[in-house]
Amino acid sequence: MEIKIISRDLVIIGGGAAGCYAGVTARRQEPDLDITIIEKAHIERSGCLAAGINAINAYINPGETPESFLEYVKKDSHNLIRDDLVYSIACGINKTVATVEKWGLPILKDENGNYLSRSSRSIKIKGEKFKPILANKVREERIEVLNRTVATNYIVENGRVKGCFAFNIRKGIFYVIRAKAVICATGGASGIYKPNNEGKARHKMWYPPFNTGAGYAMGIRAGAEMTTLEMRFVALRVKDVIAPTGTFAFAGATQENRLGEEYLQKYDQMSTCMRLYATVQEEKAGRGPCYLNLSHLDKTAAHRLYDSLLDMCPDLVLQWEEKGVSPDEIKLKIEGTEPYLVGGHCQAGYWIDINRRTTVEGLYAAGDVAGGAPKKYVSGAFVEGKIAAENAVNYLKRRTEKDIDISYNLIKKEHKRLSAPLNKNGIKARVMEKQLQQVMDEYAGGKSNYYELEENQLLEARKMVRQLKKVSAEMGADNLHELMSVQEVLDKLEIAAVLIEHLLYRKETRWPGYQTRKDYPDLKPEWRKFINSRYNKVQKQIEIIEREYKPLAAYKKNNIERGVVV
């Protein structure tokens, strides 16, 4: 592969919601900066927003406050979140949403000109073109975008990030991107667990299958501290077509088990993970499958539902068309997806400070890859992109070209490592991936085990993933697309190994469904603390670090507000 060395002030890895907002923020703050977004796909339709979305689910509607938002997220996450991060998001979301509306995002309004709310923290949008709108803004701001460019590792010397390595999967160029500051906004990770469907339906999943956790894996390898990986996210969705249950709930659907009981009422303390847990428990007790019952909807509501689904989940509409049924006659089977790691719904990700600074100098994180702040969704990703960019720009102004000098040895080493599988007759990435997914499903709380975790099983998983990691050096690729797949599987193995350590360490059940310990079934107050991890490069092992939970009052609240709102 041809080697190309480029130098930039700021590099943003990932051109999704957080990355685009970060780029535009940095440009506005310092108009003369050299900014590059590297994007694995094409920025026009990449990441979670590729297909469009019909609502923004983190917003402070009239009657809500940043404080009430924080309390809601905390309660829903069973009292363990980073209060400072969530509060800073709450303080910033309305402003970022207004900005994106100015960029062209259509938001529905009532007759008084207020945003049309879907619930107290959600507003309705016409989001089919959400991603093209963000991409357009990035273009307008003259930000360089390297499409089809996959980041593989940070360039780290003397404990400081000096850019990243990447390669272009269409042109076969190996990029050495020197940068005074790096913002990681790659998104979370799917494909670590066995998908619910096989064959041509194997990517019929909730989270983008192309978000393969590069950001997490690069952080792990660079020795960054990661947090709360054990809080996996499992979405409760309509079977097969993965349509979101929320859309139906708002339309007035009831959630029933096979016997027709509205089973959620039987469970205490309803929260997002408990709705999943309850459904799984019903299945386990033989009262499944569970359904969304739409049969009591009137024709108008049914057709409105039909309409709103087209923008988000046309598959379901296609299925109805095939069966020749209309929504008001239907009971929809619901079930949990396979587990994902995603900081925007749960809180797996980089351990960051209020400025979105990671524990490695020169590296910032925002969006799904940043930890500690669940339920940030797309608007929270904007806020984090903004904060990360502002602080990265302040930081890089103090850095000079000389600070990002890198040794040629580093370049040579990564080039050799990355291109080694090319044209090698080795194990195919998809075979390796399947083995990993199988191990995780069977031994690390996959769907086939009702997401339940148990120490001996996890120890077995640890052993098997270690074995797979050893074998992974034997992977081969016939072309650049397969080389990308090899890198993805290496990343997933890296994440799986760390995830298992997190799952082993938390000896309580904090989030039933997401993290159910069969051997420690109760929530224990003494475990109201964060489990963090760091890869020790010298000893080549994963270290666990406990971090205490702190209420908002323990942080400098004024600073949080000032930093974000102004």
Partner: protein, 123 residues
């Protein structure tokens, strides 16, 4: 999930370095062979429909794979500046169209359209 590319309708986006669908696919799954677009890794498709909306020839459609009970109906779309038209092609032939506005200003107009569709559906 996956897509079907109609070889007769696909004109291969001549004079372009990359075909439109080839350019946009988030999974890097589409390429051109002999002047026609082809999906190389159908099992990797996320059915985000980005390719479908980008195709000026309306040659690409979604279908439900057999693995989840698909029977062969297809869903295609035409994306315009301020509206999107979803087109169902039924198994036994015949089409059904849904027109959706993408702006908030013409929200009322959209409701009228939906109702017309409903009436058609009832017949």
């Amino acid at each position: 999930m996956s897509i079907k590319i109609n070889k007769e309708l696909c004109h291969g986006c001549p004079h372009r370095k990359e075909g439109r669908c080839e350019r946009i696919c988030p999974g890097n799954l589409i390429s051109r062979k002999n002047g026609k677009a082809e999906i190389e890794h159908p099992q990797d498709c996320w059915d985000c429909a980005a390719c479908i909306k980008s195709c000026p020839a309306n040659a690409i459609s979604l279908y439900l794979p057999e693995e989840i009970g698909g029977k062969g109906a297809e869903l295609s779309a035409q994306l315009k500046n301020d509206e999107i038209i979803w087109i169902f092609r039924k198994v036994k032939g015949g089409e059904k169209k849904y027109r959706k506005s993408l702006t908030v200003e013409v929200n009322n107009k959209e409701n009228i359209n939906t109702q017309e569709t409903k009436k058609r559906k009832v017949k």
